[in-house]
């Protein structure tokens, strides 16, 4: 499937994946992330359940301490 991840096209060799699988595969290791699928917030407790499929617009934002 092809999705948009952080405004860039990405290809994956499967038809769906969970948010958790995406984060593992793309090595998003920061603890504090804002994840959105098509603009809809996905909370941490739903990472295993939320499914990403063909054409989805996914946004993953790192939040880092300091200010």
């Amino acid at each position: 499937m092809q999705i948009t991840l952080n405004n860039r096209k990405e290809e994956f060799d499967r038809s769906t994946m969970t948010v958790r699988e995406l984060l593992d595969e793309k090595n998003f290791t920061f603890k504090m992330l804002v994840v959105k699928i098509n603009g809809q917030l996905v909370r941490k407790e739903d990472y295993e359940k939320a499914v990403i499929s063909e054409g989805d617009d996914v946004s993953v934002i790192h939040l880092i301490s300091g200010g």
Binding site: N6, K31, M32, I61, L63, G67
Partner: protein
């Protein structure tokens, strides 16, 4: 670049309200920048007091150590531009009070230090204040590497910073880089409000 005289800019901004969540390194510097250009109303919220260790980056003075940050900030803005209406909330922000305190803001600036608090306000704005624009800071620690600092957009959320360097023992947040990001946040607020 949109061109407007300072008079035009001031006239438009005088009718606008910005909410700034946190009055530390990002919040104090962003608020002061927006006050200087004539923001009509600034709503600031923070529970902390000014300490000696804040003075390496935050817009406070040595004789303000021990004061509540929001009151010290209000005092400093009044000295710079007394026409700005500053509403200061000495409170710890949470998902319940954020929509109340920042409910009528044209734009909200996230200016916390802890990542967990940044996540909290992002989730709160996305879920409880749909459509509201949130300007965040993420990745400000250390020094140097100017060109790594950028702005990324995701829907109604903008994130300024390098998205990489987290505060730590050997990576302190310091005036230049924190000031750059606070300035970028203020600059983006102007762009959003002025078009």
């Amino acid at each position: 670049m949109q061109k407007k005289s300072f008079e035009e800019i001031r006239t438009i901004l005088a009718c606008k309200t910005v909410g700034i969540a946190g009055a530390g390194g990002l919040g104090s510097n962003c608020a002061v920048a927006l006050a200087r250009v004539g923001m009509g109303r600034i709503i600031t919220a923070d529970f902390d007091t000014v300490s000696e260790s804040n003075l390496n980056r935050q817009y406070f003075f040595k004789d303000q150590v021990g004061m509540k940050k929001v009151l010290a900030l209000k005092e400093n803005i009044a000295r710079i531009n007394p026409e700005v209406m500053v509403e200061a909330f000495d409170i710890k922000l949470d998902p319940l009070n954020i929509p109340q305190i920042f409910g009528d803001c044209d734009v909200i600036v996230e200016a916390f230090d802890l990542a967990a608090m940044k996540l909290m306000i992002a989730e709160t704005v996305l879920e409880r204040m749909p459509g509201r624009i949130l300007v965040m800071g993420s990745g400000v620690a250390g020094y140097g590497n100017n060109d790594a600092i950028k702005t990324v957009k995701s829907g109604n959320i903008f994130i300024c910073g390098d998205q990489e360097n987290e505060t730590g023992e050997n990576l302190p947040p310091l005036a230049p880089r924190v000031g750059i990001v606070a300035g970028m946040q203020a600059n983006l607020v102007m762009e959003i409000l002025l078009g």
